[in-house]
């Protein structure tokens, strides 16, 4: 029982790792992930790639349109497009 309490599956570890990228993992989850990272090379590889992706996203400071902004552009464009048809 105690073992299950501390040792998590690879899937759960990946899920915690994903949540961690958004600052949404709890302290206890991070401890469990840390234990898994000590011995599971698959979790370690996933975690490394995941962190690398987050670093790249932060470095590039990518931005995009939100749904309302996109819909506004779409609406204006469709009106104009209709004139061209």
């Amino acid at each position: 029982m105690k073992k299950r309490f501390l040792f998590i599956s690879c899937e759960e570890a990946k899920h915690i790792c994903d949540k961690r990228q958004y600052g949404e993992s709890t302290g206890w989850e991070r401890i469990k992930l840390g234990i898994r990272l000590m011995w599971c090379r698959f979790t370690k590889a996933y975690s490394k790639n995941n962190n690398k992706l987050t670093d790249a996203l932060n470095k590039a400071e990518v931005d995009c349109l939100n749904r309302i902004e996109k819909e506004k552009i779409q609406k204006e464009f469709e009106q104009e497009l209709a004139k061209h048809k």
């Binding site: 690398k52 992706l53 790249a56 996203l57 590039a60 990518v62 464009f77 497009l81």
Partner: protein, 184 residues
């Protein structure tokens, strides 16, 4: 037969985020960037007849956008003197170094190469996001780029939190693979 063809029906879906990201790094105002992207699509529509098919749709739209950005700066700098850069000897602060040499830019600050590299990295990320299935791309952008919280996304897209994390996981795995091939 031309190498590339235009399909304006898909422009917003395929290129709006890419063009917006390109613009926002150059004009630093969301509203202006949004207007410039919108104007670019409309201008593209009007000048479709001039498209020779040598460049890709995206490259062609970017070339229109570049002109729109230049026009924007021309317009805001049209009042004479607005664009002048004034650098003065500074004696009105308590700071010890009031010579220009002592006020040079921080060497650890972003250089032109850093900015260029980050812009190319941004392009690579957008290219990879463009390869994701539509739903995955939408959830990923809302969560990661726009920074919406889980509850907001779930309400807006009518999905459960566990569903969202599954989508995020798939998107991140695909993106990491794509970036590994194209960038890292």
């Amino acid at each position: 037969m031309p190498k590339h063809q235009l399909d304006p029906n898909n422009w917003i879906k395929l290129y709006s985020d890419y063009l917006f990201n390109y613009t926002i790094t150059r004009v630093s105002s969301r509203e202006i960037a949004q207007d410039l992207v919108s104007e670019t699509f409309l201008a593209g529509l009007k000048s479709m007849a001039n498209f020779k098919g040598e460049a890709s749709e995206r490259t062609w739209l970017i070339s229109i956008l570049k002109r729109k950005i230049i026009d924007h700066y021309r317009k805001i700098n049209s009042n004479k003197g607005k664009a002048e850069v004034r650098i003065n000897y500074n004696s009105d602060t308590d700071a010890e170094g009031d010579w220009l040499e002592e006020r040079v830019a921080d060497p650890f600050d972003k250089t032109a190469e850093d900015t260029l590299e980050n812009s190319e990295l941004g392009d690579a990320i957008h290219d990879c996001i463009g390869k994701l299935p539509e739903k995955q791309a939408e959830v990923f952008k809302m969560k990661t780029i726009l920074g919406y919280d889980t509850e907001t996304i779930c309400n807006e897209l009518d999905i459960t939190a566990s569903n969202l994390w599954v989508i995020i996981h798939r998107a991140r795995t695909a993106l990491a693979d794509c970036m590994e091939k194209n960038w890292f």
